[in-house]
Symmetry: C2
Subunit: 453 residues, 2 copies
């Protein structure tokens, strides 16, 4: 979304060695825009620009770029500057960055930070990546229950210049136990001498550090909160998860769902490693379902082999195999996709499984009949044999109707047995449709054998 | 996420005719939780519960349920109550609800609302659904530039009890032109006698009413804003789009992307109509790509037909067609999925196309060799013929390597020609791989014909 003129202008500043202009232009841009430019220029240009950025801006940009680019840029500036930059990064982003480094490198960075910050970061690093603890930040505002609204305002005012997001102000006791929450709007509407303990909301929706990130993100979006407090098992406030974290969790979970649907397993390798990491990780993530499909495909081969007598008698029937398998697979995949996505967004419920199976069956039947007639006419004319046209057309219609039913049915069955339907549906369905579709075809051929060429 | 105990308890209240307890229990729950329960009970129970809800709670719940359920519930209460409920709904949600009704029904509802509100809603209804105007709400806080911080606080305080989300306070002139924006935190940090015109941020990121919803949502998330102002072509402030709107836009766009990848077109029917609307819409959305696949599949049939001489000579080779097509298609789809998703999230860039093609080719080659050897060994042993094993194994390896290249290549080519890669990749790739895979197989068979059984 950054205009190419901007990029051109930056390049001209570099060419003309117009350092001051470059510096001003870069630092007046939004960090998200600079990050976008960084993705579209060479590593050398990137590094060049990075040196001209203010420390704040540099820290902001690191939020928006890939882990690889973070390492590339921070590794290229001197250690002191790097320390100054990372001390300005939000704690959750910093922990994510450090999480990918070796213990030695982590220590190198952390020992340059103030003791309190570095121990907070170490704590963040101790939580698994995909839990509330792994995505939360330790920067939030908190007050004690006996403070007044006026004191709270003074405290908020003192933090107005920092980059801490304060959607809510949390109320804790001296041991850090979460007691309640205040919103800025609630605070503005309250008398200045009121104690926060008397005006806070005590019915707080909170999550614990080891809650799954998907549950955390879904809850935040479901209830429409800007942030959720994260507590440990003793109800001590440990951090907050904000709405933008929820967005990134969502994006990650969607990617996993999409990958899973084509048989790419994110259980064995991180989803960005599959795209950019070591080749062996990509192979590990992609082979398991291919192997299962291979076994299933040999099932289909067995079915064809079973009818090899017919194949030698009537080789022409072999040429329609790709057609039948292809379209059965396609319409079946459509049904799987509709159900898996619907189950994931909540538009499809387990309780309405029968309704959907019946509905999809009707869709499959209508489309199957249309396509069956089409295929019949084409085949009949092409091979000049009505019976062949009828058999192939009928197989097509049956195949498509069956495929929609299998495609609709299997996600519900898998979910019923607590298997993620997104993961298992793809290869399962492809194989089942291949086997059943071929069997139907060959049986039809056998029945009509006397009429075929 | 609502516990079944809660549902059981509600049902017991109904059985025991314990009206007061039912009422209290329902109204103390979060509206999102009640909405979740509504999805899992019968329409009669739903309506029963709905009657016990306070007007505010009833209005809140309508935000969280499907359009069909909104119509069902609002249609069942008397007109006066319905008017009271909708007058408490956020304007954007109300406009979405009304947007699905007939003009007559819209008028019925709107004439019961205050004139100013009903004309705001009419304006919202005039924007296309998928634009900034179509997703924005007209409820926001605005002040004039010559007001002081103290006056602004008084104004904010007067709105603290309403359900207007005020992440930001907008500064406009008397004609409604957007001049700047204030945040609550900025306001708290400013002297009470300052004019808002002197402390506001004037460099406001804004969108116009006819901007595409995807652009609006992406910008909001990219810059991390809680809300974006929406202006008309004369820079007059018309509404705001909030972070939760962006979330729903994102979810909708993701659904469209996922549907598209399996050849379900959301251009011809709305994505929720495909799942629940008239059967003809589902068929319309699903047929076009199936038809294209049909044409492509006949291409594959032609390839097979071209080699029918070999098929009659050696019928056994027909039985491996499902295996070769199946696995080529699968690994090719994996590559397509990785590229399409990567292009959509920004992890894959057009400029690195060659890098990805080469990388995927290597993945395909390694997996292809492993699978080729496996298939060779199995086939050799099964059919007791080494040459057959070698041919099928080699075809498998070649097929998988070629499939990854086609699968990686085509999304970039499609995007280059401004065709949505998510839409076109699925059927395109399936067909291309079928045709090329079969051709490779038959050519290999022809070359090794003398050694085959």
């Amino acid at each position: 979304m950054v205009e190419t003129q901007v990029i051109e202008r930056l390049k001209r500043h570099v060419e003309l060695n117009n350092k001051e202009a470059l510096k001003n232009e870069l630092n007046s841009m939004h960090s998200a825009d600079i990050a976008e430019i960084f993705e579209n220029i060479s590593p050398e240009e990137r590094l060049d620009y990075f040196h001209y950025l203010d420390l704040e801006k540099a820290a902001d940009i690191l939020e928006h770029i890939t882990p690889q680019m973070q390492v590339e840029l921070l590794g290229a500036v001197d250690k002191e500057t790097a320390a100054k930059i990372i001390s300005r990064m939000p704690h959750d982003i910093l922990a994510d960055f450090l999480g990918d480094l070796s213990d030695e490198e982590i220590n190198n960075y952390l020992e340059r930070l103030p003791g309190r910050v570095s121990s907070q970061i170490r704590e963040l690093l101790s939580y698994p990546e995909d839990t509330a603890g792994g995505i939360m930040t330790t920067e939030y505002l908190y007050v004690y229950e006996n403070m007044t609204v006026e004191e709270t305002f003074a405290y908020v005012r003192s933090k107005a210049g920092t980059n801490i997001d304060f959607y809510y102000i949390y109320v804790v006791d001296r041991e850090g136990h979460l007691l309640g929450v205040l919103s800025l709007r609630g605070l503005i509407g309250s008398p200045l001498d009121a104690r926060v303990g008397s005006i806070m909301t005590t019915d707080v929706f909170k999550v614990t550090t080891n809650d799954d990130q998907e549950y955390v993100a879904d809850s935040l979006i479901k209830y429409g909160y800007l942030a959720l407090p994260v507590v440990d098992e003793f109800n001590r406030l440990k951090g907050i998860v904000t709405w933008d974290d929820a967005h990134y969790v969502n994006e990650e979970e969607t990617t996993e769902e999409i990958y899973a649907s084509s048989g790419i397993s994110t259980g064995l390798a991180d989803e960005d490693e599959i795209l950019t990491g070591r080749l062996s990780l990509a192979i590990k993530a992609r082979s398991p379902w291919l192997l299962i499909t291979l076994v299933g495909a040999f099932g289909a081969v067995q079915v064809a082999d079973h009818f090899k007598g017919i194949l030698s008698q009537l080789p022409v029937i072999a040429i329609f195999i790709p057609l039948l398998i292809g379209l059965g697979g396609n319409i079946g995949t459509q049904s799987v996709t509709l159900m898996v996505r619907g189950l994931s967004t909540g538009q499809v419920m387990m309780s309405s499984a029968l309704h959907h199976i019946f509905r999809e069956f009707r869709v499959g039947l209508v489309i199957g009949l249309i396509f069956g007639v089409l295929v019949m006419i084409v085949t009949w004319n092409w091979k000049n044999n009505m019976a062949l046209g009828v058999v192939v057309g009928a197989a097509m219609a049956a195949n498509m109707a069956i495929a929609t039913v299998i495609g609709t049915f299997s996600p519900f069955v898998l979910k019923r047995f607590n298997i993620d339907p997104a993961v298992a549906s793809g290869p399962f369905i492809a194989t089942a449709i291949d086997i059943i579709g071929l069997a139907v075809y060959f049986i039809l051929v056998t029945l009509f054998l006397d009429f075929l060429p």
